[in-house]
Symmetry: C2
Subunit: 188 residues, 2 copies
Amino acid sequence: MAEDVEVRRRPGGRSARVVAAVHEAVDALLAEAGPGGFTVADVARRAGVNPTSVYRRWGSLEAVILDVEAARLAETAPMPDTGSLRGDLLAYARQAAAEIARPGRLAFLQALIGAADMTAEQRQSFLVQRAMQFQGMLDRSRERGEPLMDFTVIVDCILAPIYLRHLLGLGVSDADLELFVARAFTAK
Amino acid sequence: MAEDVEVRRRPGGRSARVVAAVHEAVDALLAEAGPGGFTVADVARRAGVNPTSVYRRWGSLEAVILDVEAARLAETAPMPDTGSLRGDLLAYARQAAAEIARPGRLAFLQALIGAADMTAEQRQSFLVQRAMQFQGMLDRSRERGEPLMDFTVIVDCILAPIYLRHLLGLGVSDADLELFVARAFTAK
């Protein structure tokens, strides 16, 4: 099993090339047609792969989009390391608030909402990579002897209001972001 | 201007019939095709009205969906009146958590995300009706001499984590809902 994963991930392998081609195709289609503007068949055609390869690996269009968006987030939104948990969280919150205001950056939320039949496990898979990066931030904080914080508190108190306020057209000022971070520290 | 609004809203008037027919058509199409599965032309055909009437009144498909969903929320999710703000908020949170788990009930979020070119004012219009109902709850609370709470605190601390946790496949237990309400009371 571990061997299989290693083989699949080997750079330059056939599967790695399929993944890279599909990611590139989805990126381009998201930019051109927007989320909801293309199908798995479009992705496959553009990537030069068989649609069944896409379904076999990802299962649905929404799952492909989530995968691409998770990879993009990991690349374009590195975890800050400012020397304190409060500083890290505030820097992350500022980055997230700026990012979602850019066009097309809510594709992952749209995929999550559009995929009515996606299981809780499939939804969580989007979070796993991100949660692991947050864990690094939280581990550094613990090593410095700062108060412990759970990842779900970050989701509830910081990420959730940034996203919902944006969707509802309520602005988020820098003072609001400081407030969200402060709430995360007082949250039970 | 006021007269025009009164005429437009007169029950049985031509405009009232258009609104009712369009709402009914959108309701049916949301159930059959899901959000993203139909166009303004489909709505107009089904409602037996001219597409230009739909564009003139609402401006976009997303705006029509938001209007229909706001009306449905007002009908199906009445504001609780339990005798305390804490009780009202917990009852509302339970109602919201149960509601979004039902199929098709995230149409309004999808409309908000899909409408990239919707202005902040248009996004807020969805909230206005709901905010006014919350204001009744908050007014009763003030009259009882309870601590003051702002509507945005309810959005940030209670509604946002319920929605985002659902989308991310993280469960929301009843204990979580109590926690969200408690956080709203301690939030600055």
